[in-house]
């Protein structure tokens, strides 16, 4: 099956590009199977560079699950960087897989991981590089294309390009999908029938079976077509994390990737209920892996990879029940040269003590995300931390020896005033004062990172607008000025233009598909990379279709308005979201997960 000519052609390209190790494959623990003895072949694509895509856990889990089946095969595909793409196009090299340099069109299914709206142009670019027509309706005879991940919860801007989407946890449904495709392949079932069968699986959304309506240029609802099409697509929920396959021998890249460490997912879901947070909703309910399972996995992960760092991945690692015992057992069982890291800590002293336990010798950095600097605004977003507990956590961190602290804030949150923005600078100054008063000799590296609120589907803030671009810039400037007199901090903010585009697509409807395609034709790609992003081009394309990004990004929806993603369920009831939204306006916080308010529709407890 392996085309030696193509292989040699690719090798000649690798002689000419920068960072060729992005494309060569053959990493430690790569799974290389025989194409001839595989009944069904799946290409797992990530629409960004290798070093970004390889840092994504979900793709690694699916890779493991599929390749664990004897007669199935999964190989990886990433977006080539601009220099590689140019050579591929001039030498007519189609998009190929890492494992065997096989062209993507020779697979049976092409799956895209959709984690970020600004990767959408790369999805189109990869389809084109693979030689696929962009639109599903034109792809007869080509492999089916599926999309999954957080963006599948409002995939409408991608609807014409992707045959079907998967909502929620992929562990179980991927094999059900493959089983249907395998039977379909044997029986030569026509494509529309296969799509019909797929649509009957829980968690699968076939966009071509739904028809949106527009009235006076405004989205006015979406209707299922045909009798068997469900009116609402529910997300898939994996009941028991402990029973699921987890990659014990993950790939070890040669190239340094964004998260270059072994990753152990200790929990899925989050009980915190921050009202802006999409992950906090769509990964519900919160599930844990047992300590026995985690210790066993950790030992294998380190033995099989040789990584010196193990990250305990979770949306809020200090919320794992009995995290102290887990950490003690891991420290006891793992070799002494392994560093544990806790990527998402609650800003309180308990969490810092925990971090101290795991980073006794090698203190890297600590990251806290207060998000808002006034208690009023924190109540609005349901971030239940106090300034006292944050400052106590910082004081403890300084005393314990950390000299590298990162603080994350957000601007543009609903109800935010200039006072709230300026309070960020005051909070940071109080943190600095704490450090200075204690008289430590070393220099403190305090990084302050400020992003812009972007409303996301299925969150209590899904009805809220993003603040206009000019206003983002004004508030950034306000903050910049407030920080000007403060020495000794590293202040970063997110580019206003990319946040604006992200907001337009995160709540966009199907009409944005034409915008997306046109932008890609004009050369937009890698929109999350500042060297590629061109807001001006996007604005022109939006205008050519009679829109502005702000029609979507800055739109305020009323509670009764139809929403482009209303036929997809994130797992919470609309009443719960409405109620949470109302409470935010009265600055009322909610209990964990808002459980007492009946928020959890799919809770297995």
């Amino acid at each position: 099956m392996v085309d030696t000519d193509l292989k040699e052609k690719i090798h000649l390209l690798l002689q000419q590009v920068s960072n060729p190790s992005r494309y060569m494959g053959n990493e430690w623990n790569a799974i290389i199977k025989d194409h001839r003895s595989s009944l069904l072949k799946i290409a797992l694509a990530f629409p960004d560079l290798y070093e970004v895509g390889m840092s994504h856990l979900g793709t690694r889990i699916l890779y493991q699950i599929i390749n664990s089946e004897e007669d199935l095969l999964a190989e990886r595909v990433f977006t080539p960087a601009a220099d590689m793409e140019a050579l591929m196009r001039s030498e007519s090299v189609p998009l190929f897989s890492m494992e065997s340099f096989t062209p993507v069109h020779q697979f049976d299914l092409l799956g895209f991981s959709l984690q970020y709206e600004l990767n959408y142009t790369n999805v189109l670019n990869m389809l084109d590089l693979a030689g696929f027509p962009l639109r599903s309706e034109q792809r007869k005879g080509f492999p089916l294309v599926v999309g999954g991940g957080v963006c599948a919860f409002n995939p409408e801007p991608l609807a014409p390009f992707i045959d079907f989407f998967v909502l929620g946890d992929g562990e179980e449904v991927i094999l059900e999908i493959i089983e249907l495709l395998r039977e379909g392949k044997l029986r030569e079932t026509p494509r529309p029938e296969i799509l019909q069968e797929l649509a009957s699986l829980e968690g699968v959304y076939v966009p071509s079976f739904y028809k949106p309506k527009y009235e006076n240029g405004v989205f006015a609802g979406i209707e299922p077509m045909g009798t068997n099409t469900p009116s609402t697509v529910n997300k898939r929920v994996l009941k028991n994390l402990d029973d699921a396959i987890y990659p014990k021998a993950p790939l070890v890249p040669y190239r340094q990737i964004v998260h270059d460490r072994a990753v152990l997912e200790i929990t899925r879901g989050c009980v915190r209920g921050c009202r802006f947070c999409q992950a906090g909703v769509i990964y519900r309910p919160k599930r844990y892996r047992s300590k026995d399972n985690l210790v066993n996995l950790a030992v294998h992960l380190i033995k099989n990879t040789g990584y010196e760092e193990l990250s305990l991945a979770s949306l809020s690692s200090s919320d794992y029940p009995d995290i102290e015992e887990l950490v003690q057992r891991l420290t006891a069982e793992l070799p002494s040269w392994v560093n544990l890291s806790l990527p998402s800590l609650r800003p309180d002293t308990f969490s810092v003590q925990l971090a101290e336990e795991v980073q006794k010798t090698h203190k890297t950095s600590l990251t806290f995300a207060p998000e808002a600097a006034t208690s009023r605004l924190r109540e609005v977003i349901n971030k239940k931390i106090t300034e006292e507990s944050l400052l106590a956590a910082l004081e403890y961190s300084f005393a314990a020896g950390w000299r590298n602290i990162k603080l994350y804030f957000m601007i543009g949150l609903p109800t935010e005033t200039d006072e709230d923005v300026e309070a960020i600078a005051e909070m940071v100054r109080r943190a600095l004062d704490l450090y200075r008063r204690a008289g430590y000799r070393e220099k403190l590296k305090l990084s302050v990172s400020v992003s812009t609120f972007t409303p996301k589907a299925h969150t209590p803030f899904q009805w809220e607008p993003q603040i206009p671009m000019a206003e983002i810039k004004r508030r950034q400037k306000l903050l910049y000025r407030a920080f000007k007199k403060t020495r000794g901090i590293d202040f970063k903010w997110h580019d206003a233009g990319t946040s604006y585009l992200e907001a337009a697509f995160s709540r966009g409807d199907r009409r944005l598909a034409d915008v997306l395609e046109e932008a890609w034709r004009r050369g937009c790609k890698f929109d999350n990379w500042s060297e590629h992003f061109c807001l001006h081009a996007w604005e022109e394309v939006f205008a050519s279709r009679g829109f502005s990004p702000s029609d979507f990004a800055c739109k305020r929806y009323e509670a009764h308005d139809p929403l482009p993603w209303e036929h997809l369920s994130g797992g919470t009831s609309i009443d719960f979201l409405i109620n949470e939204h109302r409470k935010s306006r009265r600055s009322k916080t909610s209990d964990e997960n808002g459980r007492r308010n009946g928020g959890e529709k799919t809770c297995n407890a």
Partner: protein
């Protein structure tokens, strides 16, 4: 504490990984092999592993010296065997030997590197005779200007003094191989692609330089008897 010198080879796809990527590959293989690597002291402890001279991306290698410190003594043969189980296809350890803790770091000993370059048998379009002419021209020149890309932009350097030897060996069926013996190491030197680039500019094939397959045969030191000696086991 034990100090081991070892040599490694790489071929095929593994030629595309960079020096830093080789360092990480070796570190992780040692961890997987359960070898007790000594780490540096300080804020950010690093395994005490060093490679005699960075290997350029895209260049295969036959005999690259490197050294490692281990907490407890190991038979060099056992080290080689344990490592080779943990190394990917295309990358292997040839051999290892214990060396004195007092001898100078390998990196300071390296003076020169021997490369061979094979033009692509089908695609490279320059006849051997004309290649030979360009090689002669370079050998008889006293100055060869090259613009090296650095962190602070392009820098003009004369690479002629770094070219100790340059010649074409004829293989059968009219094929040829270019041998380059170049100065390398901490006091500066020339990189094989730089020499090819200059050759390509003389011979009007600068756009075909990527069609040369490069291999480093080994690294050399200047032995006391005024002879070049390959560093190895």
């Amino acid at each position: 504490m034990q100090r081991l010198m070892f040599t490694f080879a790489r071929c095929q796809e593994l030629r595309y990984i960079s020096h830093l990527e080789i360092m990480r590959l070796l570190q992780r293989a040692m961890r997987r092999a359960g070898l007790p690597v000594v780490c540096t002291q300080g804020f950010n402890p690093q395994p005490r592993l060093s490679i005699a001279a960075p290997l350029p991306v895209g260049v295969e290698a036959e005999n690259e010296p490197a050294e490692i410190y281990l907490e407890s003594p190991h038979l060099p043969e056992a080290f080689v065997q344990k490592m080779n189980i943990q190394l990917p296809r295309g990358f292997s350890i040839n051999g290892a030997v214990e060396i004195s803790l007092e001898s100078p770091p390998l990196m300071q000993v390296v003076e020169a590197a021997l490369y061979v370059a094979f033009p692509h048998p089908a695609l490279f379009s320059i006849p051997v005779e004309s290649l030979q002419r360009e090689v002669e021209e370079i050998r008889s020149s006293e100055e060869l200007t090259f613009f090296r890309e650095g962190k602070k932009g392009k820098k003009q350097i004369n690479i002629r003094p770094y070219i100790y030897e340059l010649k074409i060996n004829l293989l059968n069926e009219g094929k040829a191989v270019l041998r380059m013996f170049l100065k390398t190491g901490p006091q500066g030197g020339a990189r094989p692609r730089e020499v090819l680039q200059v050759l390509g500019e003389y011979g009007n094939f600068a756009n075909q330089v990527y069609l040369f397959q490069l291999k480093r045969k080994g690294l050399f030191r200047y032995a006391p008897q005024r002879k070049w000696e390959m560093i190895g086991i």
